[in-house]
Every structure is written in C-alpha cells, then in structure tokens.
Symmetry: C2
Subunit: 100 residues, 2 copies
C-alpha cells in the first residue's frame, strides 16, 4: 500500500481561483485506481518551527499498490487535471510513501 501526498502553492495572482481548483480536485479524486482520496487546506494547528502552513492545498491519496498509483498517473482524467490547473500553481511538492 502506498500514499501519494501532494502540496500545492498557488500563484499570488491566482489565489482567487480556488473554486476552479477545488472543482478540479473533486473530479480528480474520482479516478478509480484511488483507494482513499482526500484534499484539504492548511489546518489552524499551532505554529511550530517544523510546521509548514504556507501551502494552499494538499492532496493525499492512498493506493493499494505502486501499480495502481502508476495507472493513476497516466489516467486521462489526471491529464485533464494537470492541463486544466497548471496555470494556477507556483510550486508543487510530492512525497510518495510505501507503507511499512
């Protein structure tokens, strides 16, 4: 089982297009290879030196296997998401974890 975590920082001039981005995330997490699909915004937890609250959106997906993840990456609806939203983000960071 693996977890694919993505953090998005939107461009300053695109921060008012959250509605479009949230709609695209909502469609993205319906890709059938995804086991559990969550997306969110920074939680108002305590400010600590280790906590990064600067991102605009997170996308946290679990997959039954790396093969399911790889199939998701090439699913046509994934292309629709990237092509439709890549003008919005300034930075994206991905962490892929294989669970122990």
């Amino acid at each position: 089982m693996m977890i694919h975590s993505v953090y998005f920082w939107l461009k300053d001039e695109k921060k008012d297009e959250c509605g479009r981005f949230e709609e695209a995330l909502r469609a993205l997490v319906k890709i059938p290879e995804i086991q559990l699909g969550h997306f969110g915004k920074p939680a108002p937890t305590a400010e600590r030196p280790v906590t990064d609250h600067s991102f605009d959106y997170s996308l946290i997906l679990t997959f039954a296997s790396k093969e399911a993840h790889d199939a998701y990456q090439v699913h046509p609806d994934h292309d629709v998401f990237v092509d439709g939203c890549k003008d919005l983000w300034a930075k994206v960071v991905v962490y892929d974890s294989e669970l122990l």
Copy 2:
C-alpha cells in the same frame, strides 16, 4: 477531519538505527486519538522534478477533529516518541491539512 503528515530526514550517522525508529513509530501510532495511523519510507515512484524522495520516513495520521490532533500532541506517548528519537533526525517537516 484532518491529516497530520510528517516527513523525517535522519542524521547520516544514525541511518543504521532504523530498527529503533520503526519500533518507536509502531508504538506512536497506537495513541488512541489517531483515527488512521500510517508510516512508511519513500516509494520507488518515477523521479520527477516535483517529487522529493530524499526523506527517510513519513508518518501520516488522520484525526476526526483538530481537538483530537491537539490531544495527540500532548499525549504522554507522544513525548516518549520525541524524547526517545529526537537524536535520530536531522530535519522534520510537518503539513497539517483540514479536509474539504
């Protein structure tokens, strides 16, 4: 519902103490406030400019509420984890997400 994601980079000279760290993570995720507790290592997904495979361990926890997360942070077993392992890590990054 919220997700608390933590990425750990171990000190070079402590990378052979993975067994101790994994044992501590296994105990940590038993804290009752946690809804779902996962920990892992980097998955062998494709190298892409956005993907950071450099961390040593991830810890991904879901909580029913921010209050449950806050209770976890002050649980005595959380202190046991931090006090017992803080000599191992060189860097820790936390992302807290409030799910939409």
